[in-house]
Subunit: 328 residues, 2 copies
């Protein structure tokens, strides 16, 4: 077996909300993920890892502003590129410690993601990023840097940026080349560095935030992967979350997932994009999407017989006849 | 022809000393380099780019300290990883604008460089990095972070780190795979992220600064390249620089280069490591090293007939009989 699984790892999975965000903490978190990669590699899976960068890019944005008088501030897309470097290195180091000689090698590719300059998100930026500012500071930044500033829950003003849909990873073919050569590839960190196409093959950076689950789906599609897993903090998707009728989903079809989405079962800021990415990916035949924790990725993808309830995550499959092809 | 040339691009070539270091300035500088890459690609060369990161990692180190109360400071090796992300992206974007469809694609690989934990440089750190501190701050940092602090020319105290010799790029095989597939590869930015080997294939980051010219030589050796070019601010190497007998070297053998080095012709902080990298590389047969500006890379490598004096840079070749094999 040499099927490809793309793992989408939340930024908070590397820098948890109850932690300071030191490199040591992030490294320990990366090792947890590396252990699940090791299990998958032992079963013959080829792995591509897409990581989030929310907490990390937020920290960089704060540092940019604190030092603005001493060091020229960099645009947001360049901060995203920096987090790809730092977290790409961190994940490769963690994989080397946990998997060592068991893996052929791990390599991080700086990845740009094409977005549509006419994406409606650009005319309505909604994603808050970086530090809080006073009203006066916000007015200055809006003028000097053309930033969109909004008042945020009484805590001050923040910059908001667009969150356009990812179209295609620019480095798709290079990533596929490395996967085919046997490498574990870290790609499209933070959803990829957002770029818009110019003339004759050129592209340029643009300040935006791309959802990393939707970006992982684009990577998985481009790599012709068999599995896409949104690796997160909850073991499985729940219906009627937090109510008396709360229940766990072990498997749902795309049609079921779409219906639950329409019914408002999945909040836009958290489970919503994960389920949407799962739907997008599993629509093509022979594919499976999953949503679960690092520890349960393995049993969720394998669907082994006799696993007790709650010991695996949620699978999203094409439909009644479409799921079998992707089971190993 | 499909020979490989590795271009080692100075950090100051991207962020010049007479500039503020904004991203726009760095991007314009990267486009100058991209034009020389385009000329080489048109002649059939495959290209690997190694960039420096001195000014950029210095800026990040300042930002870390300015924001230390708000955001946990990251270790130096992680800052190096960040500059690989930012500059790797920048160079790929510049290549896309200048070369467009003429190149098969450019891709940046986060690169770790193995160094020897017993390298004597670690017991005698000499490379200043980051901001200046007061005597009291320096004492605190020395205690809390085990930094080596030295007084720097009356301007305050600075951290100094080791500058060990690069041994081998961890991602050498992945880089070779991408070069063979036709990509222009950006690798080992800032000399690579310094790592020391652990057990069973593991490696971990260590705070150090690796000379990017010596690192580029390791990349060129690992990629089995035909040419290594130190791309810098001066058109050619000079002897007796700044004296009445100053003269330009168009070509020298390794033996000549070693003799000039021994005679103190090349200062340790600037031309010294470039000439040393050139010597290291050109020692194997069929290889040529060169030292020149972005504009002259092309004519220096090609050694075309009839080129007037001063219109090409310096070539370093194995010896009387060893140079011909690498000429195109």
């Amino acid at each position: 077996m040499s099927e490809i699984a793309v793992l989408a790892l939340g930024g908070n999975a590397l820098s948890r909300v109850d932690q300071l965000g030191t490199l040591d903490e992030q490294y320990d978190n990366a090792k947890v993920m590396a252990k699940s990669v090791r299990s998958l590699v032992r079963k013959g899976w080829r792995i591509v890892i897409v990581h989030g960068n929310g907490p990390q890019v937020g920290n960089l944005a704060i540092q940019q502003e604190e030092s603005a008088g001493l060091v020229p501030a960099l645009p947001l897309f360049a901060l995203g590129a920096m987090t790809q470097g730092a977290l790409g290195s961190l994940i490769c180091l963690a994989l080397s410690e946990i998997c060592g000689d068991e893996i052929p090698g791990a390599v991080s590719v700086i990845t740009h993601m094409e977005v549509d300059p006419d994406d409606p998100a650009f005319s309505c930026p909604t994603k808050p990023i970086g530090p809080f500012f006073s009203r006066a500071e916000a007015a200055t930044l809006a003028t000097e840097r053309s930033w969109t500033m909004v008042e945020d829950a009484g805590r001050g003003y923040r910059r908001v940026v667009a969150s356009p849909l990812p179209k295609a990873p620019i480095e798709a073919a290079a990533i596929a080349t490395l996967v085919a050569a046997g490498y574990i590839v870290v790609a499209a960190g933070g959803g990829g560095i957002p770029v818009v196409p110019g003339e004759q093959g050129a592209y340029r950076g643009i300040d935006a935030v791309i959802d990393k689950d939707l970006a992982a789906e684009r990577i998985a599609d481009a790599a012709d992967a068999e599995a896409l897993v949104m690796v997160t903090g909850v073991p499985a998707v729940k219906l009627d979350f937090g109510t008396a009728t709360e229940r766990t989903i072990e498997e749902m079809t795309i049609d079921e997932a779409k219906r639950h989405m329409k019914d408002g079962q999945f909040p836009p800021g958290s489970m919503g994009p994960k389920v949407q990415a799962a739907i997008n990916f599993a629509t093509a035949p022979g594919r499976v999407s999953a949503i679960t924790t690092p520890e349960l990725v393995d049993t969720t993808l394998d669907r082994p017989a006799g696993v007790i309830e709650g010991a695996r995550g949620t699978r999203i499959v094409a439909g009644a006849g479409g799921a079998g092809a992707a089971a190993s």
